[in-house]
Every structure is written in C-alpha cells, then in structure tokens.
C-alpha cells in the first residue's frame, strides 16, 4: 500500500527485535471473541485512479455554485477566493502541522493566529478575539455559556431572527447546562422586540445582524437595555463581509461578538469546515471565561519577540472538568485562510468588496421587486434580503433548480411550517449581470 513504508522484510526483522513471533502476538489483549481474523466486509484497496474516478462520479451528481446563477445565502456565502489563499494553506508546514504546543517550532502558526486575532478584534470592534472556533453556530452557543459564566445567570434571550440552526445549536448546548433559552417569534423584514424579555436573571440577549432574513438593525438601544439590567449583548454576524461597510457590533455596544468567517478564504464546502469568530470586550473576567485557544505575545530566552498559546488554564487539557469548554480543536487552517484573504484585502479591499456586495443586492432587490408576484420584505439590508412570492417558495426554488438556477433558501426550510412563500436571496460580487437576467427571466416564468 502506497502510504505504508514497511516492507515484509522490515516487518519480520522488527518482530524479531520485539521478540514476538507474529503480529497477532501484539493483539493478545483483545478479547478473543472480538478479534477479526480477516478484513471487514468493505472493498479492498484501490489505486489513486480508481479513487479519483469514484469521487468524480459523485461530484458530477451535484450542481456546483460556479456552474449556475447562484443566490443562496442564509449563513454561507459564495465569494471569490484568491488563488493565493488556497496555495498558501497547502504549504506542508501549515497543512501538516499539529496544534502549536511546541512554540519554538510553531512560530509560523502562532504568529498567523496572533495576526488573525487582531484582525478579528478590529473588524468586530472588540478588544480581543480567540484563535477561532469550529464555526459560527458553535461560537454562538459557546458565547451564551460564557455569558452565563460571566454574569452567573441562567437565562438567555435569542432573537427570533437569529439563524434557526444557530438557535438550535445554542439551545442544545444550553439544555443540559440548565440555561433557560427564550426565543421571540421570527419577523421577516423587521427587528424583533427583545427588550421586554430582559430581566434580572438574563445573562444575555443574542441578536444577529444582518439577521437571517437579511434585515439590518441598530443594536445600540438593545445594548443599553441589556446593560441596564446587567445582561450582556451577544451580536452574531454570519456574513462577515458586511462589516466592511457597516458599523461594527462593538461600536454599537456588543459585549461579545461571534461570527461565521466562511465568507473570507474558506468557500462553501457544503457546510464545513468553516471558521468561527469569537471576540469580546477587554475585561479580565471575560478573557478568563473565553472558550477556545488564544495566541499571545511573549519573548524567548534571547529576549526576542515570540508567540505562544496562552491562558490555557481555561482549557480542558489542564482544567479537565473545570474547563471553560471541552474544545480542544480550533479551525486553524480555515483561520489561516481567513487571515490570508483579509491581509490581501486590507481595509481598502474589504470596504470595496462590501460595497460591491451591497450594490449587487440592491440591484437584484429592485429587479425582483419589479416582477409581478414578488414583494420585497426587507427594506434595509446588506447583501441578502427576503421576498414574498405568490407561490410556495420551495416549489419555486425547485422549478428554478430544474432550469439550472440556484435561487435562494425558502424561509420554510429554516422555519418548518412558517413563511411558506418567503424566499431569502443573497447576491455577492460573484454575480454577473447575466446571473441577474437569468433569475429575473426564470422567475417571471415560474410565478
């Protein structure tokens, strides 16, 4: 087998050195009834070419975003990723390195994480950020747990317009920690009223901006209301490109900002691996209660600047059952992709990219609003918005898929049994005029 360097001769010699007669002798601790005497019932080894062909066959059964006019969002967005990003994350020294527990031979990973943390903190308007989480939804759930630890309270209020997968992941994680989760009903196209839920038991309110329907809102009043009751405001951003154009959650008073970083560097990847962003205020208590890894600056024995993983006494491998979370993996390689893409963009590029996204969405919204049978539900938005159709959105989307157009996410797929005619559409810099033409024409046909 091409990945196994031992030759039959090697094996014989090694068994001799070990002093056993056969490989079976090394497996004698396995209960006899559980020892398999031959391979399990699965195909035998395959050549590279065979494996490539099997995967190509599966790949051909999917309609990829690049092949179709594409308007699907709802928490994952198609953006163009520079070729440099994918090249760099395939560097052996990045791709095949482990967690940088040995800092002397991991400065590459550590410095990029430190740079990543700084970029995330600045972009979200916060003071500190960690070295990434699994994804946006788990970052959101962990933020609620952290808020509960920080405030020592046991209630979390979730906006109804928070991505339902995020709400579900949060509720699931909170459930057995005895954190009570309250949720307002969803309200496409407007900001739900969360202030009324805040009381003295409230650890945090969680609000997504732009929300899952694409609507944007000012969080300032909400932050003030929360703070007045001693609660924290957790802001969720699933389209991180929006922060190139919009006031940051930090500036609006958020205490913790979590986000899905997939838009930069990562690609669609059918849902994962993505990269969760996690940032918070500069408060010792906050930092000591953060989940996930942190890279920090220090000096080496010669006094030269260097970086290490730090504050690991929060973490499971040191604190075990007292840890702030059980996490022992970040999304390092995706964080690298994110930080490379962000370094290429810089402030100038990100701002321009955000503006292009916004403009494409405006153009799309105006075009669709002009179609009979389409009503624009979201009047303030970034690059995603919701329309109400005269037919069930699921049928419309399927009919458009048959025409080779990937038109968006029916709201009812996220909220089963609700919003049957609502369709959530995203536009990005990757959409051409031709894409807009195609959608407009096809939509007219199927409505």
């Amino acid at each position: 087998m091409r990945y196994l360097p031992l030759t039959p001769d090697d094996r014989t010699q090694m068994l001799e050195t070990i002093g056993v007669s056969s490989i079976d002798a090394l497996f004698t601790d396995v209960p006899e009834s559980a020892r398999l005497d031959g391979p399990v019932d699965l195909p035998r080894k395959a050549t590279e070419l065979e494996v490539e062909r099997a995967f190509a066959k599966m790949a051909r059964k999917n309609l990829s975003a690049g092949e179709a006019p594409f308007f699907v969002g709802a928490g994952a967005y198609k953006h163009h990723v520079p070729a440099t990003v994918d090249h760099l994350i395939q560097r052996s020294e990045f791709l095949t390195a482990y967690t940088p527990y040995q800092p002397e031979i991991s400065q590459g990973t550590l410095q990029t994480l430190f740079e990543f943390q700084t970029q995330v903190a600045r972009l979200t308007g916060m003071a500190v950020a960690n070295a990434s989480m699994y994804d946006g939804s788990t970052a959101c759930a962990e933020a609620v747990l952290m808020a509960s630890r920080v405030t020592k309270r046991k209630k979390a209020v979730l906006s109804g317009n928070l991505h339902p997968h995020y709400s579900a992941a949060t509720a699931t994680l909170a459930k057995y920690m005895d954190i009570e989760v309250e949720t307002e009903g969803a309200a496409p196209g407007r900001a739900d009223d969360l202030v009324k839920y805040i009381d003295d038991d409230t650890a945090c309110i969680v609000v997504q901006n732009p929300d899952v329907f694409g609507h944007v809102r000012d969080l300032t009043a909400l932050a003030e209301a929360a703070h007045a009751k001693g609660a924290l405001l957790i802001a969720v951003v699933t389209e991180i490109v929006s922060l190139g154009l919009m006031t940051s959650p930090g500036e609006m008073g958020a205490d913790i900002v979590v986000g899905e970083g997939q838009s930069l560097g990562v690609g669609l990847q059918f849902g994962g691996p993505y990269v969760g962003l996690f940032a918070c205020r500069d408060d010792r208590n906050f930092i000591r209660n953060m989940p996930g890894r942190l890279a920090g600056e220090t000096v080496d024995a010669d006094g030269r600047r260097g970086f290490v993983l730090t504050l690991s006494t929060r973490e499971q491998h040191i604190r075990r059952d007292k840890a702030t979370s059980n996490i022992c993996t970040n999304s390092g390689l995706m964080a690298l992709a994110w930080t490379i893409h962000m370094s290429l963009l810089g402030e100038k590029g990100l701002t321009q990219l955000a503006r292009l996204n916004h403009e494409r969405a405006i153009e799309l919204a105006d075009r669709l609003a002009g179609i009979k049978g389409v009503e624009l539900v979201t009047d303030a938005f970034f690059n995603e918005f919701t329309v109400k159709l005269t037919r069930p959105a699921t049928e419309v989307v399927e009919a458009l898929a048959q025409r080779g157009i990937l038109a968006g996410v029916p709201a009812s797929r996220l909220y089963p049994g609700q919003f049957e005619t609502h369709l959530i559409l995203a536009a990005t810099e990757t959409n051409t005029d031709g894409d807009l033409d195609a959608l407009e024409a096809a939509l007219k046909e199927v409505l």
């Binding site: 990945y3 056993v20 009834s33 395959a46 760099l88 390195a97 059980n326």
Partner: protein, 494 residues
Amino acid sequence: QAEPLIFERGDFDNCGVDLPEPKGLKTRLDGLERKSAIGLPGLSEPETMRHYVRLSRKNYAIDLGLYPLGSCTMKHNPRLNEKLARLPGLSDIHPMQPQSTVQGAFELIGELAHWLMTLTNTPCVSMSPKAGAHGELCGMMAIRAALDARGETGRRRVLVPESAHGTNPATAVQCGFVTDEIPADASGRVDMEVFKSKLGDDVAAIMLTNPNTCGLFERDIKEIADLIHEAGGYFYCDGANFNAIVGRVRPGDLGIDAMHINLHKTFSTPHGGGGPGSGPTVFSEALAPFVPVPYVIQDGETWAMVEHEQEARDLSGGEPFGRLVAFHGQMGMFTRALSYMMSHGSDGLRQVAEDAVLNANYILARLRGEMTAAFEGTCMHEALFDDTFLKDTGVSTLDFAKAMIDEGYHPMTMYFPLVVHGALLIEPTETESKAGLDRFCDTLLKLTEAARDGDTGRFLNAPVHAPAKRLDETRAARSPVLTWREDETAQAAE
C-alpha cells in the same frame, strides 16, 4: 530572521486583490454605514506570498519528519485527498441548495457513514460533530437524552479513568454530569475493583479510551461493558486511538454504546496547525433514536437529509437530542477521509493497525533498556515512558523533549497521561519507515546517554537550532498580549 507582523508591514491603502469599481449606488443600510476606520492593513499579492511562506518555514510539520505525538496520531497526509476535496462538484456546493442538486454530496456522506458503521459494527452514526471533543459531546448528550427518556433524573455520575483525555471530564460536565475518577491498576489499565465499587444507580456512564492513553488495550473491556450495562449505565468509548485497532477490532463487538472517531487522526485529514477536525460518532441500537439532526437517509436511488427534529420524529419515531451545529458537519473532511479509506480498503486499514502497533512496539523494544518504560509487556500504537531514567540528571522531561528539537524532531507528548511521573508518550504511526524509526531511536539513545553523562547544558538551553529559543510562557499568561497594538512597533524594533 524575525518576520514583522502585517500590522507593521502593511498599509491601509494597499491591497492585494483587484475588484471592479462600485457604481456608487445609494446605500440601504438604514444609517448603519461604518463611520470609523477599521485598522486593517493590506499587502500586495507578492508581499502576502512572502509573509506566509516565510512564516510557514518557522513550523515543524509531518511532511518534514517524524511527529511522534502520543494520542494525536500524526501520520502522512496524502495529497490525493487534498485534490479530491477541491473538486468543484464537492467543494463549491452550498449546504442549503435544493436537495435534488446535491445528491452526490449526500451519497458521499452516506458512503462514509457506511464505512464507519462497518468498521465499528454499529447501526448508526452522527456526522455532525466538528471535532473529537464535539463527538464526545454528541455521544454524551445522546446518553443524557436516553437517561432523560427513561426518566432517570438521578443518574448523573460519570466514571472516568484518571488516564483519560481532559476532554472527557470537560464534556461530561457540559452535559450536566459530575465525574468520578477511576485510578489505573499496576498494569496501566482500569482498576476493576475500584470500578466495580463505584457502580450504582446514580451512574450514568463510563467514558473509556481504548486502547487507553497509556497505549494499552483494556483487557477487561467486555466485562466493563457488561457491568456498566447491568448497572443501568452506558458505555462511551473515546475513539482517539482507533488507529491502533481499525480493521482488526470492531468496537461494536466490545459492547460500546457510543464512540467518536477522529477523522483527522485515524483517517488522516490534515491537522492544519490545530484544526479543523471532524468527529463522527457511532451509536448502539440503544442510543440510535437520540442522534441529533441532521442526517442523510436513502430511499432507493434518492438521498435526502433530515434537517428538523419533528421530521425525525415523524419519519422514524426518533427523539433527536437537538442539533449540534449549523448545516451538515465537516464535508471537506469527509471527502478526505473517504478517499483515504477507499485507498486503503479493508485490507489496507487492517494493515494500518498492524503496522502502527508494530512500529510502536519496535520503538518500545529498542528504547526500553535505556529509557524507562512505564509498564511491562508490549504496547499497542504508542509507547509510554516515565522520567525515572532522568532521575538525578538535572534534566526534566521538558528539557529532554526540547533537546529533541535540536536533533530535528518534534517532541513526543509530555506529562500525559497523568498516571505516570513525567510521562513521555511516543506514537510513531504506520507511515514511518523502519530506517526512520532507527534514526529516531538512535537519537533518543544518544540523548539519554548525554543526560546520564551530565551534559545538562545541551538540555537546559535547548532548543538552539530552532526558529525561536525557549519561550517565556509565564510572562505570556501573566500579562496577556492577545492582539497587536500600535505602540508595539517600537518595542519590536528594540
């Protein structure tokens, strides 16, 4: 050769991408336009390339040499897997596209699930978990849900061997359990007497790693399974060390109820400097009804994904404990892992376990005369030593490990598991050659001799042949500097 930070090098006006000019449309942001600068430097593409290529060269990597981290399974990462993960039909698809347009993706997930269930002999798998610890959460939540469904609100104690990974107790706590530690016996395995004494009607489960973190197979595992089941609890198996037995032993045959599988360990998806991982979790019949959404199902030639709890209830009468994560798990890792598994086949995977165990035992055999093996007998996929051989040398486990860096090797896992003093845990994996292992053993023997001969300077000052000297971790923790600030430029220039 210090590499300046991008904040010290880049420029807010520079940019390494070209984008079309915006048209200047009036915004519709309801007055939420950003008013202040962000502070993000941009670098041209050539500068970006060099920054990251130069930084990368400050890392060690499996592509450079042996990475003998016990319990972490750093093995060769085939580039075929990277290539296939980048097929546009697999990478450039959206998790919320119409299901009719992603049938091949569902098929791939279903195929991988089939391999995992077959290799473990279990009837069910959840593909959601984003990493091993996330898989533990998945498994323990299912156990908690099963107990709740049985109305067993008093079962909250989880037994955890002292050799367990830290994630085990941390996970148990996140599921509302308390942990109770079981010591190891003299052979490095669960002390059966203590285990039996701890069983009772408040016991929810045992969390056991097998082979355990001492690199030993838990000989009494079937008895443990029987006893925990008799006591009304469940058996969670930490699958971090599945590499040692894949293809030779099916955990389902040992009586486990749940086990996560680290695709980034046994099935070689790259660690990427700390992630992403992927931790699909298999379940016994008893726990299968509680698996979280989403999951794929097959109906004839058509695949579908069950995305909502109600749908799961309606379809199969299941009681999902909820949802762990947005979308469908680590698809990119699924592709890589399945490619790896298909490449090996059932025969190759069996060979993986055999060669992994053979390599570890070869190291144990070659070193046990000079370094102190923690336990008698042979081992599974990793060899555990304690620091007795360093006694009175003035050299600590840490110093010994750092000296290995100067010899061109990444250190082994240190000070874990906690059951032995100054542990050194070496896992070579099956992708190392005999010649490579011989060079490694020769080096360790040379270092052992140097320590014994009083050449302590070589250890205390190590590493000297590395991109950085030993770093001050205390200082980093005492006054944390977690982001770059303007005033650092001057400091850095000093």
